[in-house]
């Protein structure tokens, strides 16, 4: 492990392996001892881990600002796998992309840890919650820092595990346990595609180290399409599962069964973005396959629109946010699909800020209302919960894409990249994105109106503001939602260029820029207007209920039911058949019957042998003697001709021979 001392002499990049290690240590301590430790100690350990990691990342960021050279690779420990042509070690790599991701993960992660101290303070599984949360941070940092695909896959699977544990955190509730299972299983389907991709990568390149793969591709500029498309599509399947895109998005709405901070951290800010990160990280593969990029863009755009339509009619505050997450992830995929990877990452960063804030604020509302999540029973909360109200407003404005909030810059970057992509498809994508922005603004303001404005529909719940341990992170995130985008997409892309490649853009006239931005803002304002008209004075009736297509949306296009009928039920039937008939009846029962049968049968036969009859015993004795003699004869057969001499030699006094 090497450290790099810069020419300034005192800025040192930290040991990278410490960054995942601190959360892992937190997981171990809280996991093993947590039940016996006092709550303040559990909290301290749990908060020190992300804080420490964030500090290390901040030091690294300062080092980079001071001029440290990136990428900075660090190989930890010995060889991991050394079999044939497969050589994999635990290599961690820090470059611009992973630095951004780490800042988001550890920073927002730390804020959510602080929030959780207040939110989960009354929960009996307090220690378990924080140990799982630290475990998640460990795996996420491993995923981001990984220098080869296999280590990234380890992190990938690990965050899936942590997600399962945290979704089903209140496992006594069957709904929560089922949701955890669903998340893990749907993820697994995606992971299968990812694994196939890894196998193909290994077969094609002979190595899993990403720098080496990139180098091999760079040495071969004419290599496009073909097997590379297959690899990219397989990787895309994995990303679809993890980032909840069509058709593997169904787990994310159900994942809302978990505690709200979990939804904020894992299912908004960090884990679900792993798919986008992976595509950005392996962009050198995707760049070689226009078909794969097209598929990515289609998936992204379709998902964005699809989820936005469903989000319009949901009544559970967290469900709205869940579908919103799916929709925004679609935007990021769309960005990657038009090869504007840095725009996608930019939106990932701002999305972490405002979506995390949205979830945390929703959690504050739920906490203040004593567990109520149905928006139809909310209303008029702006007076009772002012801080929550104002921070949530900031988030809503950000996600709607209103200038100067963060969401405006990032969403704008994506739409512009789509529009200027050069093909007709780009314009289609742009239009879909624009329309989705309108819908996004609509349903977010609908949520805003239903939750905070109007007359209180459930005064009996005695809404109260949350403690400052919960409000502090809200405020910080609100500030980030406001100013997080001011770095601008241009400078952001320039920063990431060494990693994600600079997209060659045609010269875009400033007029076009302003037009497109104006259209985006107009869409946002239009969405707000519609929401304002429909929901300003709400009495809990759903104005859209009479609209055509409402039932379809309310039932989420019956996708869950479709999957259940087409995939789950047949699978269960086959599984039950195999278990009951093949395994239980035939194999196990058959084996038992066979064993028992053999024993009984042979026993019945052998029993006849013990007849007590002396003469039959004598007969068997004679038979045994005969066999022995035959054996002796046979074994000495070769020497029979020598018997005469043999015997002759043995005599003591015999005259001559």
């Amino acid at each position: 492990m090497t450290t790099v001392a810069l020419h300034h002499g005192f800025i040192i990049l930290p040991h990278l392996w410490l960054i995942p290690l601190l959360p892992f240590a937190g997981f171990l301590i809280n996991g093993i001892l947590g039940a016996r430790l006092p709550k303040w100690l559990v909290s301290t350990v749990a908060l020190l881990a992300p804080a420490g990691s964030f500090a290390l990342v901040a030091v690294a960021a300062l080092g980079v600002r001071g001029g440290a050279a990136l990428p900075y690779a660090e190989a930890t420990g010995t060889n991991w796998i050394d079999a044939g042509m497969l050589h994999v070690d635990f290599s961690l790599v820090l470059d611009q992309l992973s630095l951004i991701m780490l800042l988001v993960i550890t920073g927002v992660g730390f804020l959510i840890h602080v929030y959780s101290v207040g939110y989960m303070s009354h929960d009996r599984g307090y220690w378990r919650y924080f140990s799982y949360l630290n475990l998640f941070l460990f795996f996420m940092t491993v995923l981001v820092l990984a220098g080869n695909v296999l280590l990234m896959f380890v992190g990938w699977e690990g965050v899936g595990l942590a997600s399962y544990l945290l979704i089903g955190f209140w496992y006594q509730k069957t709904v929560a346990a089922d949701a955890g299972k669903k998340a893990f299983i749907v993820n697994r389907i995606g992971d299968f595609g990812f694994l196939i991709g890894i196998f193909l990568l290994l077969g094609q390149f002979g190595t899993l180290q990403m720098s080496e793969i990139a180098a091999k591709l760079a040495a071969n500029p004419a290599w496009t399409g073909g097997v590379l498309t297959t690899i990219c599509l397989c990787l895309l399947v994995g990303a679809t599962g993890k980032s909840a895109q069509l058709p593997l998005y169904v787990w994310l709405p159900d994942a809302m069964e978990g505690p709200t901070p979990v939804s904020a951290l894992i299912h908004a800010a960090t884990m679900v973005t792993a798919g986008v990160y992976m595509i950005a990280r392996t962009h050198f593969l995707f760049d070689r396959s226009p078909l794969a990029l097209l598929v990515v863009a289609i998936v992204g755009a379709a998902t964005a629109l699809f989820a936005a339509t469903i989000g319009m009619v949901q009544t559970d505050i967290k469900r709205v946010l869940a579908y919103s997450t799916v929709s925004q992830l679609g935007y990021m995929f769309l960005a990657c699909g038009v090869a504007a990877y840095s725009a996608g990452i930019f939106h990932l960063m701002t999305h972490a800020f405002f979506k995390g804030l949205l979830f945390l604020a929703a959690g504050s509302v739920i906490h203040g209302l004593g567990g109520e999540q149905d928006m139809r029973r909310m209303g008029g909360l702006w007076k009772k919960m002012p801080v929550t109200f104002w921070t949530m407003t900031a988030a809503v404005l950000a996600i709607a894409g209103v200038f100067p909030f963060a969401g405006f810059f990032s969403k704008d970057a994506i739409l512009m990249a789509a529009f200027t992509q050069g093909t007709a498809g780009g314009k289609v994508f742009w239009f879909v994105g624009l329309f989705t922005a309108l819908l996004t603004s609509f349903y977010m303001f609908r949520l805003w109106y239903l939750t905070f404005l109007g007359k209180p529909r459930s005064p009996e719940l005695h809404a109260h503001e949350s403690p400052w341990s919960m409000l502090g992170p809200l405020v910080i995130l609100a500030l980030l939602s406001l100013g997080g985008g001011w770095i601008g997409a241009g400078r952001f892309s320039a920063f990431l260029a060494p990693v994600t490649g600079m997209k060659a853009v045609e010269a875009v006239s400033t007029n076009l820029e302003w037009t497109l931005s104006g259209l985006a803002v107009a869409a946002a304002v239009l969405g707000w207007l519609v929401a304002h008209m429909l929901y300003r004075r709400n009495e809990g009736r759903e104005p859209l209920a009479t609209a055509p297509g409402y039932t379809v949306l309310a039932h989420k296009y019956w996708v869950d039911e479709l999957y259940d009928a087409v995939i789950v039920k047949p699978l269960l039937m086959v599984s039950r058949f195999v278990l009951e008939w093949v395994v239980e009846f035939a194999i196990l029962g058959g084996a038992a019957w066979l064993l028992g049968g053999i024993m009984t049968f042979s026993g019945a036969i052998l029993q006849k042998w013990q007849s007590g009859n002396l003469r039959s015993y004598a007969a068997w004795l004679a038979a045994g003697a005969a066999v022995l003699l035959l054996f002796a004869l046979a074994s000495w057969n070769g020497m029979l001709t020598h018997v005469g001499m043999h015997i002759g030699n043995m005599h003591i006094k015999w005259a001559g021979h």
Partner: protein, 184 residues
């Protein structure tokens, strides 16, 4: 001369042995066995083992067979009954015996350089026998005397009447009533 003697007594041996097998009444079998013993004694004599020939007559024919005869008469063992029999004995036993005989015969007949016996061969003197017995093999000799002692004790213990076993009313009771048990 030697040949005549051998054939005579060997034939007598085999014939008596066959008779033992074929007779139905145990007393006849016992008497046939006595004949076998005696002819064997003569054969020992032909082989030059004079002490053993005497011992054969005295111990085997004179003591053991008499013991057998005593027991046969004591128990009034009658004519052999037709009992269930054992299939294994015939199916398995006879071929086994045949195989044993065949193997041994083959080995004997194939062996070379066995030599022959003639009447002029030196007879083993008792002195020679006793020299080995009482000098080299003294311990086994004494052990056999202990063995006989144990056998006596065992026999007395086993055959003692009144062990608590009820005497099955069968031949004995019938004999007490004077029924004829010996069939002829």
């Amino acid at each position: 001369m030697h040949l005549v003697l051998f054939i005579l007594f060997a034939g007598l041996c085999v014939a008596a042995a066959l008779n033992l097998l074929l007779q139905k009444h145990p007393i006849n079998s016992a008497l046939s066995l006595v004949v076998v013993m005696s002819s064997l004694a003569v054969l020992y004599l032909l082989l030059g083992a004079e002490f053993l020939a005497a011992a054969q007559i005295i111990v085997y024919a004179g003591a053991i067979m008499v013991l057998f005869t005593f027991v046969v008469m004591l128990l009034n063992a009658g004519r052999e009954e037709r009992t269930l029999g054992s299939r294994a004995a015939t199916v398995l036993g006879f071929p086994a015996v045949g195989v044993v005989l065949a193997v041994i015969a083959t080995t004997i007949l194939k062996a070379q350089g066995l030599g022959s016996v003639s009447l002029s061969d030196p007879i083993t003197s008792t002195a020679e026998l006793s020299r080995v017995l009482f000098r080299d093999l003294l311990l086994p000799f004494e052990v056999t005397s202990v063995l006989i002692l144990i056998a006596i004790l065992g026999a007395v213990a086993l055959a003692r009447a009144g062990n608590g076993h009820p005497v099955k009313k069968n031949v004995l009771v019938g004999a007490a009533r004077g029924e004829r048990t010996v069939s002829k």
